[in-house]
Symmetry: C2
Subunit: 506 residues, 2 copies
Amino acid sequence: MRGLIFFLLLVVTSAVVKAQTRPNIILFFVDDMGWVDTSVPFGDSMVVVNKRYHTPNMQRLASEGIKFTNAYATPVCTPTRISLLTGINAAHHGVTNWTSPVKDRSTDVADDEMAPASWLVNGLSSIKGTAKTIFANTYPQLLKQAGYFTVHVGKAHWGSMGTPGSNPYNLGFMVNIAGHAAGHPQSYLAKDNFGNITGKAVAQAVPDLEEYFGSDTFLTEALTLEAIKALEAPINNKQPFYLNMAHYAIHTPIQGDKRYVQKYIDAGLDSIEANYASLIEGMDKSLGDLMNYLKEKGIEKNTVILFMSDNGGLSLVPPRGGVAHTHNLPLKSGKGSVYEGGIRVPMIVKWPGVVKANTRSDQYIIVEDFFPSILEIAGLKNYNIVQQVDGKSFVSQLKNPGYKNSSRSLVWHFPNKWQPNDGPGINYKSAIRQGDWKLIYNMRDGSKELYNLQLDVGELQNLASVERKKVDALAILLSHQLRQWKAVMPSFKTTGKIVPLPDRVQ
Amino acid sequence: MRGLIFFLLLVVTSAVVKAQTRPNIILFFVDDMGWVDTSVPFGDSMVVVNKRYHTPNMQRLASEGIKFTNAYATPVCTPTRISLLTGINAAHHGVTNWTSPVKDRSTDVADDEMAPASWLVNGLSSIKGTAKTIFANTYPQLLKQAGYFTVHVGKAHWGSMGTPGSNPYNLGFMVNIAGHAAGHPQSYLAKDNFGNITGKAVAQAVPDLEEYFGSDTFLTEALTLEAIKALEAPINNKQPFYLNMAHYAIHTPIQGDKRYVQKYIDAGLDSIEANYASLIEGMDKSLGDLMNYLKEKGIEKNTVILFMSDNGGLSLVPPRGGVAHTHNLPLKSGKGSVYEGGIRVPMIVKWPGVVKANTRSDQYIIVEDFFPSILEIAGLKNYNIVQQVDGKSFVSQLKNPGYKNSSRSLVWHFPNKWQPNDGPGINYKSAIRQGDWKLIYNMRDGSKELYNLQLDVGELQNLASVERKKVDALAILLSHQLRQWKAVMPSFKTTGKIVPLPDRVQ
């Protein structure tokens, strides 16, 4: 008898516990945020750029979780965002550059020498056969099927207008607030109605925020308030949620957030850089507000927060102030580049009870790793999807900060022309990292560069001429991977020939 | 011991039962559907217009529920939609005409004689102080707070672009698919991308349906498929849901639904009316698909379905075919009119286990009654809201088809100019019904008409000159109500004077 009662109690209790322990998951995803755009040092120590910024809530998150010093995205936003959602490397999914809001339009800048690669200019699609898209399943779809309440707030930029991927609804999100085909806001200001003009089609006008029109609410704040509103229902219903908190900040236009800008001017920054710093601090406030909200609701301990950026910090002048390509120092170059400044980004994970507070992992990971990781965090296994996933789960790494794997290779592939003028590492590049070694392949002239990131994180000493065997080995590895993924390449206008893979060039 | 086990089992069971018995609620809301636009007779017998149409799923719904023969909306869409969501009569909420997608723009047609009433041209708002709006709470907000999963699919039309009410998110809906500031679709055809043109702001282009662009899917079908997709999550999570299935059909543009149009041409209808009939049958198929889906998911018995239209059937020629104002016979006139053809609409309620199958209620109700009724169906009591609700719950009527109340009065108030030419009962009218009596007040000339609906549903015999006391009593009742609600009135251009209330005119 007593045994039976005990059994009954166990059944009841375990059902309740199970319902409560499926963790909520928040991806706090910042746009164009560089590796040093924060007062949290992601290198061994604070550098001069870290000292410019105030991100107390990121500090708090890092002190409660694990910091990844070698987390990577792709050089520009859409490829990263699609790799994130699908687990596929950009060279493999084929959306190698950012997608235009206008369908069928390549954003590649014209070039005298190179004809464009046939990359998938319309982005990600949930429907097989959509022209110029990659058809794949997303982890929000899988989470939704598994009972998660899935919410997207902010920048989407997964596909062009008039295609399924333009709409987060079609990518597994039950709620979508302010996400569409555009990659930046027309304005951060509610006074400007976030760029909405009656009777005009402004592709970058932010949708869904009518409640704030004409007010003083900065876009970052409005998105945070909307995210909190959207979470009320699942929290009240004790339903696990996934929140894709995808800020438009800190992408251009570099508009000042009035709440913070003066203190950066007082600290001596020029007006552009003070505005930039205010975008960062507004974003950081949003993180703090969400963390406080979780605490207030008593779900802090059952909520995983992942902090990530979609590419390196912008280093073009203008629109940035100061000296070009110095904004991510000690990293070289910035957004659009395959140098570290373009691809290495801040990443933090807080998972109470699983991840040790104030820890650090130096093992490199890449954005497609989020797909298997998030599904593993949610406890999902054996899901059916149409694509081959390239990402590897970093969950074991979360649990073991000392984890090291020097044999894994990461690939970046940018067969595109992003800017009218080639900058450092910008336009027509591929790269591979294995252990501390990184090879860069310049498609224009077939040249290769080799760096040792452990000794030279700033990629200043090209060791290609001395480490010939390493160059050859990495060129073969990179080529093998690109071949396997059927990665697209540009061609030479004069000969009509496709750019050869790096192992075919001496 | 045994007692304790029993107690434990009871606790577990009752929790489960409670979770399961909060009913799901579907409002199946059709646009511009007239009282006779269906093969279900809402009068005493089938009339000639009923015989034109095929609505087998409405027949099925009526055979499983209760049919309301005297259900009323307002003459045009936005006033009805706001009364629905807030429980406030249109004369009281002040949004007396349809709202333009463009903010601050009155849709009243200019008139030589009358200057417009100061009605609230921007519609409903969730934010206090929004210019030219009524600020009120909605029942979806209350349902959401109570743990319902609230979904809007289809036409919204609650407020102008750039105001909070343009967006169903702000009105209590967790999910919004295809609802915005516009009152009709630019196109029902996915081949036309539902009116979306890249780079052009088409106010009536239907949002959110990118998955169907270029396909053969008719808008009504696409909305149904999306509604079913949106319900998957709450059904899987055993969460009660509210679905606002608000079809764009059967509003203009009267485009043919290819699946059905030929059979109506074969039956002898002209091409316009065949298209109209196909819009109806496509809408009816949607109802059947939803009913089948509920059955398939095993939730049919715990789901309440309410069928309603937002105003009477359109009777203007063009855009309708045939002879003007004959489309709603035996009812007089159509959309825009305070005659029965403009305001009396089809209504059916199915509530398994509560409402007896195949029953009928002749007691009049009006659209603001849905607010307290739906909240009562969901089991909500003692909610805090900012507005005074005018509607009365019809739940007791659902349970008692024979219920009769001849003392209640219903008011319609249309101090607006909807069409360039006054039609029967169209432009500048108020009306009141009490028991079988109905008084109409013509603002232009102060004249009054009186009809007995029991004897003369077609409003052909004006009894005002014979039943003077009845006219006076209803004029006083109507005026009292309009005064209490601070209902707006137009004014005369020549004198600048406001149109007097009917009790001030002999």
